[in-house]
Structures are given as C-alpha cells and as structure tokens.
Amino acid sequence: MESTVKSNLKAWLYLLPALLFLGAFMVYPLIDVFIYSFEEGYNSASQTSFGTGIYNYSYVLHDPYFLQALKNTLILVAITVPVSTILSLLISLGLNRISKLKELFQTIYFLPYVTNTLAVGLVFMILFKKTAYTDGMINFLITAFGGKSVDFIEGPYWAKMMVLCIYTVWIVMPFKVLVLTSSLASVNPIYYSAARVDGTSNTRIFFRITLPMISPMIFYLVITGFIGAFKAYSDAVALFGTNLNVAEMNTIVGYVYDMLYGDSGGYPSYASAAAIILFSIVLTITVINLLVRNRGVVKG
C-alpha cells in the first residue's frame, strides 16, 4: 500500500514539469478566455468590467462582420475539406500506380507544404490579380477562350471566395497526399492478389478493399481538415490583405484577431466570446465525426 503511494508520488513528480507548463500556457488561458467571454465590457488596462452575463455573445452574434466571417468560414470548410480530400486520394492513387518518376512527382506534390504561405499568396496574386498593367494569368486565359475578365482579388464575392478556396485546397493538399500515399502503400498487396484471383473489378477492389483499409487515415485527414479549415486566417490575409472586413473575406479567427488588435480592436470580451463560439462549433463537428467513424471504420 505504502509503496503504491510512494510510486504514485514519484510518477506525479516526473509529470510535474510538463503539468506546470501545460497548466500555465494552455489550461489557464483557456479558462481565462472562458471567463472573459462572460465579463461585460472588460477593460484589459484597468482590469475591470461592468458585470457578468451573456451580452458579449449577443453582441458578437448580432455583429454583421461576425456573421460575414462565420458564413465565409462555413463555405470554406464545406468546400475545401471534401474537395481537398478527394483530390488528394485521386492523386495518391495515381502516384501509387506509376513506378517511373514516382519520387519526382511525390516531391512536386509535397513542395507547397514547405513553401511559405505568404509567398504562395504572392504567386496567387500574380495569377489572379488585376492591375493597371495586366489582368493576370488566369484572366489572360479566360479572355483567350473568349470569356470576360474578372477581378478575382477586388471584384465580386464569388470570385474572391473561389480564389480563397483554390488557394486553401492547394495549401492543404500536400500533407494529405503524403499521408494517403503512404497508407495506400501499406495495404498488403496479397489482398489485391486474392481479389485478382477472384476476378474482382478495379472499381470493386477500390470501394470494397482499398477504401475500407485506408479509412482510418481518411477519417484522420477529414477531422484535422475540418479543424484546420475552421482556423483559417493567414490564407485570407495572404490574398486580400489585413483589412478583411472591408474585403468581405474575413474568417472567424480573423474576426477574433481584429477584435483584439485590429483598427477597431481592444475588445477582449468580444474576441473571447467569438473564440468560444468557434470552439463549440469545432467541438461539435469533431464529436459528430468521431461518432460516424466509430460506426463505419475498420479497426485493427
């Protein structure tokens, strides 16, 4: 009995540095944000507030800028997560089939992952932006095929949203391709031999053997993809600059940032409320994902 207490104590002692660190830099700020979100009119300079309540949430949920950011984020998530996952799967299947130049293509597909977001943003600007001197590469192509040029960076909402989605898909795909290529390669080829002997069609092999076997990895990518897309911010900045509210391209994280440090900032209570709302959305989606996963995915 005594020895278990002793060894427990020892274990806690070993854990102490990590616990202190996590407590100070993760748990405490989380609780703090939660408290801020219920303190009305909190002033970080005087550290005072008028009282507690749900006014911050009410304000944020009625703020047209927040609603715009929420809409943008949801569109971004709904489009980029499925599109990037399916595209990565197709690319990985292709990569898995070829033997020549496989390494070269793998490297090319992985390059965006190691490229700086802002540098990529710059490239996208060159492709899409209209200036006094040029309409940009994409518009050049559109007009070459007889279409009308569009201002993708400062033009209509759908055009800007499209650029943001393409940009996001392009940025998140390399990691997914990497994960899926290796998980496809880890499927034991004996299953394919067995399926071949039984005369299984390629479509059936894909849907009945390959897909179930890599489904744990796909679910991992979908869950992290959702979380990543909900946290999008730097992508929008890279394309449309820091004044996202004016560009109608703000995201929830962008809204939180603006509330804290933006030109109209200095409202930690509103920022906290927006952050908590984002947190509850992500939590809900992740829980739903896990529930679906536990019902449908192969284990072991």
Binding site: A194, R196, V197, D198, G199, R204, R208, I209, P212
Partner: protein
Amino acid sequence: MKVVLKNLTKRFPSRDKNHPEDVIAVNNFDFTIEDGKLVGLLGPSGCGKSTTLNLISGLEKPTAGQIFFGEDDVTKLPPENRGIGLVFQNYALYPHLTVRQNILFPLQNLKGKDKMSKPDMEKAALEAAKLVQIDSLMARKPSELSGGQQQRVAIARALVKMPRVLLLDEPLSNLDARLRLQTREEIRRIQKETGITTIFVTHDQEEAMSICDELVVMKDGVIHQIGAPQSVYDDPKNLFVAMFLGTPQINVFDGVVKAGKLYIGEEAVLDVEGVRDGSVSVGIRPEGFKHDENGAFTLKLERIEVMGRDISVIAHHDKCRQADIRAIISSESNIDLGKGTVSFNLNPRKVFVFDDRTDERLF
C-alpha cells in the same frame, strides 16, 4: 481436372550486378497431375515451388512452356478466367469483412451468365462453410478467429466458386504443431469430399508425405523426383531426395565399392552386386540398422535415447558426413552401454549407394 505442365520455365531478371544472368526459378517442368489427386510440391526454400504455384494460378506469367487444365490451354488466361481457388500462406482474408462476406466475395464478382441470385449465393457460401465446419462463425471478423479457423475460412472462400483446381501455398506453416496435424487431416478430408484436383506447396516433408497422393520433390528450379510418397522415400533417385525425405534424416557415409562389396572404413558392410568399383556416397536410413553383437558394421556409441516403442542410438563413425549417426531400433534390443561400441547388420532395402560426384543413385 487434369493439370499438365509442358516445358514450363520461369526466369527472373537478376538484381545482383555481379551476376547479371537471369535467375531460373522454374526450369523446364514437364509433368501431369491426374484428375482428383492431391499433389504436394516439396522442396527447400528458394527451390521455385511457390513460383510454380503462381504460374499455375496465373499470378505469374511463364517465360516459356504451356499449362493445360484438361484439354484447355490456360497459359495466356488471367487468373480469374482459369477457374482456380487459391489459398494464400497468410490466408489474405479481408479484415474488414465478416466470414460470411469473405466467402461471398468471389461470388459477388461473377458477371453475365454466371451471375447468381442473392439466395443462391448465400446457399453456396453456407455449403462451403459447412464443408470446412465454420458455419457457426459466419458473423465474425477474421481477427476474432484462431489461426486454424482463419485457414478454414480461406479454404471455404477458395472453394465457394467450385474451382477446377485448388491451390494451397504453404497451408500449414502459420499453424502450431497440434493444429497442423489436425488441419492436414482436414485438408485431406475436404479434398476427398470435393474431388477437386489440389496442388499444395510445402517445405515440410512430413506434411507432404502424410497427405499427398503424389510428391514432386524440387531443388533449385529442377524437379528431382515425382512419385507416391512411400515410393519416393523407399526408392530415392539421388542423394538430395534421400536426404530431404525422412525424419530423423538419413545417415550419409563415404564408402568404397570393391568387387561387389561395399566398404565403409575397413568393414565390408553389404553386398552390392553390379555396382562399379570406386568411391561412393552411402545413405543408410535410421531404421535400416539391425542390432547384432556380431554385426558387420561397428560404430562408436555415444548414447541412447529411449522413446518407448523404439530406441534411438546415437553414434559416431569417422566416415560419416554428419556429426551424429542416428539408428532407430526396437526397444527390445539389449545394448551394452559399457562397451563403447555397437555393431549392426544393415537392411539392404534401407541402404542406398550414390555416385560420389553426380549424387545419382547406383544401388
């Protein structure tokens, strides 16, 4: 279904830069497997037996030669059109499907005129499951089954389409010793019940001897002997076959033939009429020794092991190529342990004489 291999050859390109010549995994195979037989391809690892099986299944394409199932030339047919059932060494059961779904899988692939109705498929799957006695496990996943049960599921999946030929790749190698005995009886029973021509690959001679109608002994891509297990054991064509079959292994000595007599060391141990004079290799099966105080062949006694029914005598001789000589004699024999030597007469049917250069059998 009769299976005929004609001049079948498979070469693989060499990966070793110092030896750029092709590796010949299967060299000019020519043999016929009669309808309804259980045939074992037996040999040490790397002898080309699995390649032979893959050629018959169609997973590998031969470099030269032909394969016939009955009168049909299947050499150019893909595996799915050959009408074969294949059981893989590690069973290759789909882990995310239940036993029932695994067995149904090949049937669901059928197209066109072969397409079966759902109830027919279920019926066929249940029949196959009953044959291998796993019909009570249909709802389980492979991970919830023992190795022996997984093996049965794999056999059921291979049999459900009623293949013309059943192929088994090292079917028992992933099972423990007790299950192995049980499963090999099981394979024999299933094969007898279905009457499907069955070819299996093994490196375990005991396994092959116990269930096969016919053995194909191979080494380095070459067939060394084909025949019924007992006849191959009793009448090996060369030293390799003699040494590969039988446990304990055959004892091999350096001998000399002089005027129709076989000498091992100084002693003339056996009459070998008609064998040319000169040095030879001599193989003596452990059961070929008959204990006799005045026997012709004297060995240095090391120890004896009593195994109930038999006694295993472990001895040495300068001319023996192995470290220990093992003789198995009846437990009624009285061996004087104090003497240091033990003498035997030899049973001529258990002694084989081989050419010392070509290893071909002389006597």
